[in-house]
Each structure stands twice: as structure tokens, then as C-alpha cells.
């Protein structure tokens, strides 16, 4: 080996290191890639792995898991091993110098380095690059064994076969091709040449391969006997697998015993090879003996069994010429050189001088192209297995060709001129073909005509110069130099295709090899989620809700947010309130209604596929395209520049979309450029300072009512006759007083339906019993409605307190959509007697239900509520007001339940479980809102403007918790329950004069 040769190989390997390892993490994961990466990560972190034939062999998971353990988990480390194997593949070709020639091996290595298919899938977490390297070692072992008859080369073969079977099921196809070649040659030697079997190296190699790998064909036994080769678990599956594998092993041993008895290898050496061959599959498929015997059955029986089943499925739905199409589009130089190699081999075959290795390479190339084209599943990465033998065949031919050019006597300068003239002429022709000269007399057209003429002159000049320079050469010399110039152009174009595919368009579906691939949006979306996490300070504790429609590749990426709220295809309340929600297009109709108001939405593309117009191509289409200049240009732009005229990337026809919802308050902080989108939604107005108003109380209800005083009374309602119904929440009862505050009756007792009799329930229905009633209202005909909060129901009573009916049941954290009668802590109820309907705040479910008096659900207010508590109906116009507590706002809806306005409440900051705000509206449109934490009642004008912060003078310095509100219009008083003081206060109502709030004087006696 010369120093120049060493330098050339060193430079080539350095180039491969650069092209394989540079910028490995830039590309978003594809669908399958993310599955491989995620399950390797799971294996590395939990130590659990179970072989599944759908995800191919275990080698990838074991090796990638190990890399994750050693080097951490990310996109780059996930692709480190494939990149290493891609570089090794080129280095392995060095060992083929004996078979391809020194130049041939180097050119094969150059072709493998330039090959877009080999390069891109060596930067991709798939098994194909592993299998390619193992196949090369396999072939090397066989060739060396034939030459040397040394068993150590069969060890290499056995190892390479074994680990290849542990990598991917394509090994069956490789094995079939290699086995067929050696078997055919063996037969020819045995029956045509009559060679003694002891000298028949080909037959020996074929027998060794067959006898070792035969158990992997055991699913054929399953199929023949009607067993299911995709069933790996259960005693029956084990018995079937043991029988089939045992039969195949015995058959293999029989073949070896009979076939190799007289061969130099011998049966004893074969048994050692067998042990070595089967150690790795048993070790890896069983996940280091942790998944026995399931792993072995799924590996040995299921690998072929599963993929035979997939043959009829025909995944990918690609046409039979798919690989030829991809090869023409990407592998210009390997294709041309391999074709030249094929012609050379066939010519020598015709002359009965069949070269062993080149003929084998041709057989391998054609066999791979045929078998992969026949197989039902056609995927772009499988092209690796066709391109690999092509590069060897092409390299061999080029090396031989260059060696045979009669270089002597060629003047360097003249030779160089002839060499460059071919690519120059081709480039000129390519540009000339797209010019439209002499179209009209516009300046642009004239300029184009000028360029056309100039290029035409240049083309002629190039031709003349080339001819002149070729005069000093022989015809053969001139042809060879010109041909090499053409190859140089093809090499440049192939390198360009590889570079563009690998480093520019790596995640664009305009590339035919970016199949089912993550779009650039995936990393963009992740960067935005990361920004939300960073700016909110929660980091990886950010709760990200994701669904099943975006599972791959997002499951891999969202592993960094362990507090994920995965909601599959059923939006849950928890998920729909997460700071960040990811929704795939499939689940959008179900999830979007819960998000559209309080979330900012972004559109993204998740995964996309190339346009597959080529699938329907036929001769007529080709001729029509050639005849139409516009069609020609379109095809040229796709083939050379990967540009689709008139097809928008945003509206790419083969894409899967998803949306990212970010809570509006967060989005406002983290997306500066989204401000204008946020402004359009017009959230709450800025609250103004509220003037304080203190009035003397008209009275107070305190002391014993019945046998006990009030305890944390949460609500109060008035009957038409002035009766006061007070929800005595702490005592699980409702107290009835007359207009003067005299105790009349008490309804109910404690009963928590969830605890049954232990909590005091009289029976299963517990009618008339309560668990913390937080709301009361008086409906039509004086009917009393009680929100039995922690029994999750409404109870209806007549005006005398007799039980009428009950509606609803308590269900906490129900999945979305929540059934209408599932209530989760209903806090308040309001009656719109005029329109015969009730409003219930289903607080825990963050909704407000509109009910018919008999309990049927009429509607649900659409408000994007968070902890809705108080609800009130305006006696003036039937408008409905809701205390949207944790959104710190009051929302107003008209009588038709359409949203009218919302305004901020300068309070309600607490997320206390007991301090809940209630509302009341008077006949002038003033809205009263209790603010228990601040010990006040806020009063808003009809437009939502704050007019007063009302408090009784008696409250000064006292511990008060104003909560439930009710207005007595006749007496101009406001009843306020005091949950902290266990009382009910009677305050004067407020009036507005010139915008200033004052306390109204009482109009009648009583309080």
C-alpha cells in the first residue's frame, strides 16, 4: 500500500466522520425513529425490554440503550451508533481490495460515501445501516473462507449472520440471495464440472449458512401445520414453538451431518459454529435472559412470522418500481457505474470468462432489487440493501476502467480541457433547455435571448476546444477522458444530492427519502414549550397535556416533562386545564371546545410524507410530460431542486397536523410576537380603584334557630312573602325565617351519601338530608331549591318544606365530555322564574348548567369558567351573572344566554376552599358581589364599573366573611350571610347619584 493510497483512505474516512457525525441532532425524529429511541430510553432507564417483531430486532435497543446510559439521552446520542456504523461501512470496504482491486475498493468506498441513501440512513436510528455493515462482513467472511478454507472466516460469517438476524428481518432476504448464489455455484461445480465434494467450497458455504439459520424458518412449520406464528405467549405457543424450532434444528443438524461429513470443515466444527451462531439471538431476544421463553419465541418464530403476515398488508402502498424510482432520483453515479459493471460482467459471461466476485455482485444487486420490489412492504430505507451491492459493483468497474485507460502520451492541459468539456457542455445544455429566447421584444425577453445566444456560442466553443485538444490523443484516450469527465459531473451531482438531503432538506417532505418524517415544526413547537417552561420558572415540572394522535414522535420529546397529562382520545378536565395542551387533528373536535376561549392556539405539522404522484406513472404520462414544456419544467424542479411549483408547504397534501394550546396568560408573557393575536381576544378590562362605602346594618340574624345557632351559613334566598331561607351549611340544614327574622322551621340533617349511614343518612336516597348545602333559591310557586353541594345534587321542596324531588349525582373528575347530571360540588343555584329555568354552578366541573324546573338540562353556558360559584339573574332583563372566581371576573350573559361582557373583580385572589363569592342583582341593574377574604361586598354598575366597596360599620375590626347574598326589594335591604361570624346581616341597598354610591334608607319596617 503506497503512502498516497494511505492518505487517500485517511482523507476519505475523515470526510466520512465529518459527514456522518456533523449536526446529528438538528433533524426532528421521524415516526419510527422516535419509537426506537423512546423504547431504548425506556430500556436504559427501567431495564425492561420485550422484543416485538413490529419494531424489528433487539440489537438496536440493546446498543442504543447502552449509548443512552453512557452518553445521555437526546437526538444526537440516539443517532451516534448509526453514524458510527455508517463510517465503519466505508472502512470495511478497505478489506475488499483483494476482490475489487485497489482502485475498485477505493472507488466503492467513495461511492458509499457519496450515496445519499446510505448517508441519510446512517444518520437515522434505524436498523438498516447495521444490517448493511453486518452483510458486508458476512460476504467478506464467505469470500475469504473460499479463498483460504480457514474456519476463522466462517466464524466471522456466523457472527455477522447471527447479529444481522438480531437486527432486522431483511436478513432473510440477504440470506436468500447469498445462499442462492453459493448453492447455484455449488450445484454447477458438483453436476457440471463434476468436482469432488471435498473441493466444492460454494456448496460447503451454502450448507453452513442453511444449516445454521434453519430454525429462523420455523414459522413456516407453524404455517404448514396451521399454528399461529404471531402468538408468543401461553403454554400452547410454547409447545408449538419448541416443536417447530426443534424440528428445524434437527433438520439443520441432519443437513450439516450429511453434507459436511466429507467436507474439510467437518461436523464437529459446525457444532461450535452453531453454538456461536445461536448464543447472540438467545441472549438478545430474551433481553439478557429476562424475557424467557417469550422473547426467544417472538424472536425466532415471530420475526419471520410477523413480517410474512405483513406481506399481504403491503404497507407504504408503493408501486413495484419504487426502488428504481428512488435510485434514479438519488444514486446517479452508483446507478450508472453499476450498469456499466453489469454490462462488463455480462460481456465476460458471454465470452465464458465469468469473473467470480463481479458476477456475485451483479447477482446480489439484481437479486436485492427483485426481492425487495416483490416484497409487500416497500419503504425508502430498504433501498440501502439495493444500493450497497451497487456501490461495490460500480466501484469494481470504475477501478478496472481507470486502470485500463492508456494514460501515456496525454498532454495534461489538453487532457484537462477534454475532461472538463463534457460537464461544461452538459451544464450549458441544462441551462439552454430552460431559456425561452425570441419570445417578444420586451427588455426581459431580449435579455433572455441574449443569454441564449451567448450560451449557444459558448457551447459551440467548448465543443471546438474539446475537439482541438483531443486531436493529440487516440480515440480511446479521448473517449475515456470524456467519459471520466461525465462521471465527475455525476459524482458532483450525487454529492450535491447527498449534502442537500442530509444537511439542508433533511426534514422536508420534498425529499422522497423523508418518509413519515417529523416536520421542522416539531422542534419549533418544542422550543416554544420550553420557553413557556423556562419563563414560568417551572422548568421540567411544566404540565403538558398530550393525546394519542400526536404520540409519535412527541412521546419521545415530551419525556423531559414527566408531569405529562396524557389524555389519549378523551379530553379530561385536568388535561384541559394544563398550561400547555397538545391536540392532534383527530381529537380536535373533542378538545377544542374546552380550550378555544382561554387558550392561544398555534397550528403545526407533525409528520409528513412525500407526494406520491409517481405511483400512477405510465408510458403515456411520461410521453405527455416530455411533450409539455411546463410539465417538463415541473418535473425538472422536483427532480433536481426538490421544488413543487404551486404546492404550499403550509398546505402540504400529505401531512398530519396538530395544534398547540397555551393558556392565554402564559402566552402573553412568552410570545412577544403573538401580541397582536392576543390583543384580538380582548380579555378583561383593567380594574379601577373602588370607593369604600360603610353603612349601618339594619339588623342581624344570630342566636339559636331551632336547637342551634347558624354555622358558616353560605347562602340565603327570599320567598315571595319575604320568607328567608338560609343555607346553614355547617349544620347541613336549611333554616326558614319569616320576614322579621323569626325562626319558622329547619329542613334536613347531615348525610354524606358517599359515607352512607355512618354519616347520618337515613336511607340510600337520603331525601331531605344534606352534605354542606352551599346554595338556596326560590323558584316558581315558592318552590325551594337547595344545592346539596357534596352530595352533588339539587333537592327541591315545596314552600312548606316538603321534599319534592332530587336531581344529579356526585361524580368527581369525570372524563370529558361530562354527563349533564354528574355534578361536582355545585355551589349556587339561581331561579329565573319568569323564564322558568334554573342556573346551577357546577363548580368542580367548571361549568354552569341551565335547567328546566323539572330538572332537565336546557343548556350550558359557554364561558371558559374556572371555579364558577355565585350565579344571579337580573330581575330587570333576565341577564345572568356568574362569579368566575379563579379567573377573577364576573361574566354577563343575556337572556338568550349569549355572552355579553366580563369584567375584572379587584379581589377574589384567594383560592380558599371555603371563601366563595356570591352574587345578587337588583332591579336597577346594580350587581352585588361578595368578597369574603376582604370582608366586603363589591357593588358594580350596570356596565360593570365598580361603584362601591360596601361594608357594615359593625364589621369594622370584626372577623366577617360575607358570602351569600339576597336582595329584599320591598325593604331595600341586602341580606349577607357571614360564614366567619355565623350570622346573616341585613344591610341597606346602594343607590347611585351622579355616579356616587350611597346607602338607601329602609322603606318599611323589618329587616
Amino acid at each position: 500500500m503506497t503512502a498516497r493510497e494511505r492518505l487517500a483512505w485517511a482523507l476519505l474516512l475523515a470526510l466520512n466522520v465529518a459527514t456522518h457525525f456533523a449536526d446529528l441532532g438538528a433533524r426532528a425524529m421521524g415516526h419510527d425513529e422516535s419509537l426506537h429511541a423512546f423504547y431504548s430510553h425506556q430500556y436504559a432507564t427501567t431495564g425492561v425490554y420485550k422484543h416485538d417483531p413490529m419494531m424489528h430486532g433487539p440489537f438496536l435497543f440493546h446498543s442504543t440503550g447502552l449509548v443512552f446510559l453512557l452518553a445521555g439521552t437526546n437526538d444526537t446520542t440516539a443517532r451516534l451508533l448509526p453514524a458510527l456504523f455508517g463510517t465503519l461501512l466505508v472502512a470495511t470496504l478497505f478489506a475488499f481490495r483483494r476482490y475489487l482491486g485497489r482502485r475498485g475498493a477505493f472507488f466503492a468506498a467513495v461511492l458509499a460515501s457519496l450515496s445519499p441513501v446510505l448517508l441519510v440512513y446512517a444518520r437515522y436510528l434505524r436498523n438498516d445501516i447495521y444490517v448493511s455493515v453486518f452483510t458486508l462482513l458476512w460476504v467478506l467472511g464467505l469470500l475469504r473462507f473460499q479463498d483460504t478454507r480457514k474456519v476463522r472466516w466462517l466464524w466471522l460469517t456466523s457472527f455477522a449472520m447471527s447479529i444481522s438476524f438480531c437486527s432486522k428481518e431483511t436478513t432473510f432476504i440477504t440470506g436468500a440471495i447469498l445462499g442462492a448464489w453459493f448453492a447455484l455455484r455449488g450445484l454447477v461445480r458438483a453436476f457440471v464440472r463434476r468436482e469432488p465434494f471435498g473441493l466444492n467450497r460454494d456448496a460447503e458455504a451454502a450448507l453452513v449458512m442453511l444449516s445454521l439459520a434453519l430454525p429462523f424458518a420455523s414459522p413456516l412449520v407453524h404455517t404448514a401445520l396451521g399454528w399461529n406464528p404471531e402468538q408468543f405467549e401461553g403454554p400452547l405457543a410454547q409447545v408449538h414453538a419448541a416443536a417447530a424450532i426443534g424440528l428445524a434444528l434437527a433438520l439443520g443438524a441432519g443437513i450439516a451431518f450429511v453434507g459436511l461429513k466429507r467436507a474439510p470443515l467437518g461436523f464437529k466444527a459446525w457444532t461450535r459454529l452453531l453454538a456461536m451462531f445461536w448464543f447472540l439471538p438467545v441472549f438478545l431476544f430474551s433481553a439478557l435472559f429476562t424475557d424467557m421463553p417469550r422473547g426467544i419465541i417472538s424472536g425466532v418464530v415471530g420475526s419471520l412470522g410477523y413480517w410474512l403476515g405483513q406481506h399481504s398488508v403491503g404497507r407504504g402502498s408503493q408501486p413495484w418500481f419504487y426502488y428504481a424510482f428512488l435510485t434514479v432520483l438519488y444514486e446517479f453515479l452508483p446507478l450508472v457505474l453499476a450498469s456499466c459493471g453489469a454490462i462488463a460482467v455480462l460481456r465476460r459471461l458471454a465470452a465464458r470468462r465469468l469473473p467470480r466476485v463481479p458476477a456475485f455482485l451483479l447477482f446480489w444487486t439484481v437479486g436485492a432489487a427483485l426481492l425487495y420490489s416483490v416484497a409487500g412492504e416497500r419503504m425508502p430505507w430498504l433501498n440501502d440493501h439495493i444500493v450497497l451491492p451497487m456501490t461495490l459493483l460500480g466501484g469494481w468497474w470504475l477501478g478496472r476502467y481507470v486502470s485500463r485507460v492508456p494514460w501515456a502520451g496525454i498532454d495534461r492541459l489538453r487532457g484537462l480541457a477534454v475532461f472538463v468539456s463534457v460537464p461544461l457542455a452538459l451544464l450549458l445544455l441544462a441551462r439552454l433547455a430552460w431559456l425561452r429566447p425570441f419570445a417578444d421584444r420586451s427588455l426581459t425577453a431580449l435579455a433572455e435571448s441574449g443569454v441564449f445566444l451567448t450560451l449557444a456560442v459558448f457551447l459551440i466553443a467548448v465543443g471546438l476546444v474539446a475537439r482541438a485538444c483531443a486531436r493529440g490523443m487516440t480515440g480511446r484516450q479521448a473517449r475515456s477522458v470524456s467519459l471520466l469527465g461525465g462521471f465527475a459531473l455525476l459524482a458532483v451531482l450525487t454529492a450535491r444530492a447527498a449534502f442537500t438531503l442530509t444537511f439542508v432538506n433533511y426534514d422536508m417532505a420534498t425529499e422522497f427519502l423523508a418518509y413519515s418524517h417529523g416536520t421542522p415544526d416539531v422542534k419549533r413547537m418544542l422550543a416554544e414549550v420550553e420557553e413557556v417552561a423556562d419563563r414560568t420558572g417551572v422548568g421540567s415540572d411544566l404540565v403538558v397535556a398530550a393525546d394519542d394522535d400526536t404520540a409519535w414522535p412527541l412521546t419521545w420529546y415530551l419525556r423531559v416533562y414527566p408531569k405529562q397529562a396524557f389524555y389519549a382520545d378523551t379530553p379530561t378536565l385536568e388535561a384541559m386545564r394544563s398550561p400547555v395542551v397538545i391536540v392532534g387533528s383527530k381529537n380536535l373536535p373533542a378538545a377544542e371546545p374546552y380550550l378555544e376561549r382561554d387558550y392561544v392556539k398555534r397550528d403545526y405539522r407533525l409528520v409528513w410524507w412525500p407526494i406520491e404522484d409517481y405511483a400512477g406513472i405510465d408510458l403515456d404520462t411520461i410521453l405527455a410530460t416530455l411533450a409539455d414544456p411546463e410539465a417538463r419544467r415541473r418535473v425538472w424542479n422536483i427532480a433536481v431542486h426538490r421544488r413543487y411549483d404551486g404546492v404550499s408547504l403550509a398546505e402540504w397534501p400529505y401531512r398530519h397536523e396538530f395544534k398547540l394550546f397555551v393558556r392565554r396568560d402564559l402566552a402573553r408573557d412568552v410570545w412577544p410576537l403573538g401580541q397582536e393575536a392576543l390583543a384580538a381576544a380582548a380579555p378583561e378590562a383593567q380594574a379601577a380603584p373602588v370607593p369604600e362605602l360603610r353603612c349601618a346594618a339594619r339588623g342581624v340574624y344570630e342566636g339559636a334557630f331551632g336547637d342551634k345557632p347558624l354555622a358558616a351559613p353560605a347562602a340565603v334566598a327570599l320567598g315571595a312573602d319575604g320568607t328567608r331561607w338560609i343555607a346553614d351549611t355547617g349544620h347541613h340544614r336549611v333554616v326558614k325565617l319569616d320576614a322579621s327574622g323569626r325562626f319558622l322551621a329547619s329542613l334536613g340533617s347531615a348525610c354524606d351519601l358517599g359515607k352512607g349511614a355512618a354519616s347520618g343518612c337515613r336511607d340510600a336516597e337520603a331525601h331531605g338530608q344534606f352534605a354542606e348545602p352551599w346554595g338556596v333559591a326560590v323558584g316558581r310557586g315558592g318552590e325551594l331549591i337547595v344545592a346539596d353541594t357534596w352530595n352533588g345534587r339539587l333537592q327541591f321542596f315545596d314552600s312548606k318544606g316538603a321534599f319534592l324531588r332530587s336531581w344529579g349525582r356526585l361524580v368527581m373528575n369525570a372524563p370529558l365530555p361530562i354527563p349533564t347530571d354528574n355534578l361536582y360540588g355545585p355551589r349556587a343555584v339561581a331561579s329565573d322564574a319568569k323564564r322558568e329555568r334554573l342556573f346551577v354552578t357546577d363548580t368542580g366541573n367548571k361549568r354552569v348548567l341551565v335547567l328546566a324546573p323539572d330538572g332537565g338540562v336546557l343548556a350550558e353556558l359557554s364561558g371558559g369558567f374556572d371555579e364558577p360559584v355565585g350565579v344571579a339573574v337580573s330581575p330587570r332583563d333576565g341577564h345572568v351573572f356568574v362569579a368566575d372566581t379563579w379567573n377573577q371576573r364576573i361574566q354577563q350573559f343575556d337572556a338568550d344566554l349569549e355572552f355579553v361582557a366580563s369584567w375584572a373583580v379587584p379581589g377574589w385572589k384567594s383560592r380558599s376552599l371555603t371563601n366563595k363569592p356570591y352574587l345578587a342583582v337588583d332591579d336597577r341593574g346594580l350587581v352585588y358581589a361578595s368578597d369574603p377574604d376582604a370582608g366586603r361586598v363589591l357593588v358594580f354598575g350596570p356596565e360593570g364599573q365598580p361603584v362601591a366597596s360596601l361594608a357594615a360599620t359593625e364589621w369594622h375590626g370584626a372577623d366577617v366573611g360575607p358570602t351569600g347574598l339576597a336582595l329584599d326589594g320591598r325593604r331595600k335591604i341586602l341580606l349577607v350571610t357571614d360564614t366567619a361570624g355565623n350570622k346573616v346581616w341585613s344591610l341597606p341597598q346602594v343607590t347611585l347619584a351622579d355616579g356616587t354610591a350611597t346607602c338607601l334608607a329602609a322603606s318599611r319596617s323589618g329587616h
Binding site: 451544464l427 451567448t454 450535491r496 442537500t500
Partner: protein, 436 residues
């Protein structure tokens, strides 16, 4: 010094030159003077063309960039790589002068060429100047070789130098006179003439495929001739001192050493002196860069003189020479590092392009497909910054704004129904108008 050591020295020098020229090459966007060549090169490389740009600043650089963009895609780094690689190659050229000049001056010159702040700045910019300087130096180096076979290569280099842009017209006479003075001039043969023409043609026309680039040759010659009419500002000594003080000091040392009776390397002295004398007056208004370039050979001789004093003189002189050499070298290194970190382009335009891409992704949702309107005769740096936006068009404003694309214009007039964001504080800064 052994062959291995020689290889190591020049290898290390080349690696250092590469590092200084390539590290952080894309950290700043292309300036207008860089984009004036890069944009037409990109338009020629794009399948769908693009908004027409001005005539390139350098036909040869446009050809190199056209090849790079066509092969590898467009980018700020890629636009500057040809200049940076040639700048690094320039630094190792004096290796070929060791035999004629002697080891110390050649290596001193190599060191200066690596570290010289002016040359470093030129090499890191995507302008034709760097290409021209390299070709001029290569041409001179070839002519100075004793091996006449190497003289044959001078013709292609001269052809390429002819089409390398504006500065080529200043550099050509310098090289010619220097070669003449050094006694290396010979009449060109017909073969030489053919090679000059062929390579000039290939270099000026994008390997014949883009004849549109050839306009740069006449444009640069016209501009160079008109520069003679410009008001004289020579010599811009203060600018030179600010950038290249160590080189000036060394050049003075070189002049001292080569004074009558002291010079021992005739060719080196003659070339250095000629270059120093001719270069400044080759243009009416010489750039400080050109002046610095002119001083470099003399400075190399000065550095070699210091080296000689440091190794062979008396102890005191040795210490003084070592100290002076160290000060000069440290000064050069510091200046080189600071120059390599200078941002040349308009960051505002880069930010504008990034914002357009982000807004495009929000609204379309692709980063490249939002319709964008730019003014007629827009700054090529703006067009370059927007190169990934596939739907950039030119329109008269504000009439065409009715279609509600993104509009890049000035602050006035304010577009109705749009909100604007300025990129730059000055009144003339560009504004991105985004439809509400």
C-alpha cells in the same frame, strides 16, 4: 530545519489561519457590500430565480458562490467561505518563497499574513477583495519561482485575477511592476494568452453557464476609473495606524535593514520596496487595507531582521529584539482576534428576517410562505436576509398593500390597517409593516 519541521511550521500556520478565518464566520449577517455579490449568485443558483439584484461586485467571487450555493445551499457562512479559504491559502503561500527569499523573511511574511488584522478582515468578508489579494500574491509567487515550469500556472491565475473585481485593477500593475523589477518578467506566449482568456472567461461567467456575471468586470473597471476622479484623501495614515500599527513598525524596521549597504536578499528587498512604493499610488484614494498590504513585505523583512538580531546579536540587542518581536506579535494577535469578532452586517435585517419567518409560521403555518413585499431597488442585504421567504415580491407602495402582505418599507407613510416595527433607531431605518 528539517523537512518535517518545515511541514509542521507551515501546517500549523495554515491551521491557525483557517481557524482565525473560519471561527464564527456566520455570526454576523452579510453587509450590503457583501450581499451585492452574494445575492446575484444566489439568484442564479435558485431554480425559480429571485428578485433581480445589482451587478455583482466580483464576477469571480459570484462564480465561486454560485457553485457553492448550487451545491450546498445558501448561507452567510457559505458566502464567506471562498474568501476565508483563499485567505488561509494566502498565509501559506510564502512557503514557496523560502528558497528565493530565505527562510526567515518567508516565514515572517507567513506569520504576518496569518495575523495581519487588515488581511484577516478582508478574508472574513464575502467581497472580491480577498479573492483578488490571494490571486495577486499567488501570481507574484509563481513569477518569483526559479522553476520555470511553475510560470505556466501564472497565466490561469492572471486570467482569474482580471475578473476578481474592483481591487484587481489596482493589484495587477503592482504585480506586473514587482515582477519586472525582480527580473521575472517574460513575454507571454500564445498558449499563455489563451489560458488567460479561457480562465478569465470561465471565472467571469460562472463556468460559462451564467454569462450575466460578466457585467461585473466592466462595472468594476468603470468604478475603478471613476475612482481617480474622486477627491483625494491620500494618505489615510490615521486609519492605517489605527488598524495596523505593528505592521507599520515592522515595515520601518525592514526599511532600516534594507538601507544601502545592509541588504543581503536583493529580490526580497526589491519586491518589498516596489510593492510598498507602487501600491499606495495605484489608486488615487487608496484604502487603508491596500496601504497595509503594501507594507506587509517590508514588515516581513523587518520581522526577519528582528529574528536575526534575536539569534545572532549581542546579549543586549538580543533581549531588545526579543522584546520588540514579542510586543509586535502580541499586538498583532490581539488585533487579529478583535478583528475576527467584528460584526460587519446589519443585525437589524437578520432580526427582521427571523421575525418574518416566525410570523409566517404563526400565520401560514410555514416559515417561508408569508407574502412579503419589498421596495424596488431594495438593499441586496435585505433581499439576502429574506432569501428563505419564497414569496417575496416587489411592489409600489402603498397601493399594492391592499392585498395585505407583509410590507418592508420606510417609516413613512404609515400603512393603514398595519402595525409597524422598526429595525434600527435612525430615521431611515427599515420598518416591517404587519397587517393587523
Amino acid at each position: 530545519m528539517t523537512g518535517t519541521n518545515r511541514l509542521l511550521f507551515w501546517g500549523a500556520l495554515g491551521a491557525g489561519a483557517l481557524a482565525l478565518r473560519l471561527v464564527g464566520l456566520g455570526s454576523s449577517p452579510l453587509s450590503s457590500s457583501e450581499a451585492v455579490t452574494a445575492w446575484p449568485a444566489l439568484v442564479a443558483a435558485l431554480p425559480e430565480g429571485g428578485l433581480p439584484g445589482p451587478v455583482p461586485g466580483s464576477a469571480l467571487l459570484a462564480t465561486l458562490q454560485w457553485i457553492a450555493f448550487g451545491m450546498l445551499g445558501a448561507g452567510d457562512v457559505l458566502a464567506r467561505v471562498p474568501g476565508a479559504l483563499l485567505g488561509a491559502a494566502l498565509a501559506v503561500l510564502p512557503a514557496c518563497l523560502e528558497r528565493t527569499w530565505g527562510q526567515a523573511p518567508a516565514r515572517s511574511l507567513g506569520l504576518l499574513l496569518v495575523l495581519d488584522p487588515t488581511l484577516l478582515g478582508i478574508a472574513r468578508s464575502a467581497e472580491g477583495f480577498g479573492v483578488g489579494v490571494f490571486l495577486a500574491a499567488l501570481l507574484l509567487t509563481l513569477l518569483l519561482q526559479e522553476d520555470t515550469r511553475l510560470h505556466r500556472l501564472a497565466a490561469p491565475v492572471a486570467g482569474l485575477l482580471l475578473v476578481s473585481g474592483f481591487e484587481a485593477w489596482s493589484l495587477l500593475p503592482i504585480v506586473a511592476i514587482a515582477a519586472l523589477v525582480a527580473g521575472r518578467w517574460r513575454a507571454p506566449t500564445r498558449r499563455d494568452q489563451a489560458l488567460v482568456a479561457a480562465f478569465a472567461l470561465l471565472g467571469a461567467t460562472g463556468l460559462l453557464v451564467v454569462p450575466e456575471f460578466a457585467g461585473a468586470v466592466s462595472a468594476s473597471l468603470t468604478a475603478w476609473l471613476h475612482a481617480w476622479d474622486a477627491p483625494s484623501a491620500w494618505p489615510r495614515v490615521s486609519a492605517l495606524l489605527r488598524t495596523d500599527l505593528p505592521v507599520v513598525v515592522l515595515a520601518a524596521a525592514g526599511a532600516l535593514w534594507t538601507s544601502p549597504g545592509r541588504g543581503r536578499r536583493g529580490a526580497a528587498t526589491l519586491v518589498a520596496a516596489t510593492w510598498a512604493l507602487v501600491a499606495p499610488v495605484s489608486r488615487r484614494e487608496p484604502e487603508p487595507a491596500l496601504l497595509a498590504l503594501a507594507l506587509l513585505p517590508s514588515a516581513a523583512v523587518g520581522l526577519a531582521w528582528l529574528y536575526e538580531r534575536a539569534t545572532t546579536g549581542r546579549a543586549t540587542v538580543q533581549r531588545l529584539a526579543l522584546g520588540a518581536g514579542a510586543v509586535v506579535t502580541v499586538g498583532l494577535v490581539l488585533r487579529a482576534v478583535s478583528v475576527s469578532q467584528v460584526a460587519v452586517g446589519n443585525r437589524g435585517l437578520a432580526r427582521l428576517a427571523a421575525d418574518v419567518a416566525t410570523l409566517s409560521a404563526q400565520r401560514t403555518p410555514d416559515r417561508q410562505e408569508i407574502p412579503v413585499v419589498v421596495p424596488e431597488r431594495a438593499d441586496p442585504a435585505l433581499l439576502w436576509a429574506l432569501r428563505r421567504i419564497a414569496t417575496t415580491t416587489v411592489a409600489r407602495l402603498p397601493a399594492d398593500a391592499a392585498a395585505r402582505p407583509f410590507v418592508i418599507a420606510s417609516r413613512e407613510p404609515v400603512l393603514e390597517g398595519y402595525f409597524g416595527h422598526a429595525y434600527g433607531a435612525e430615521p431611515g431605518s427599515v420598518v416591517l409593516w404587519v397587517p393587523r
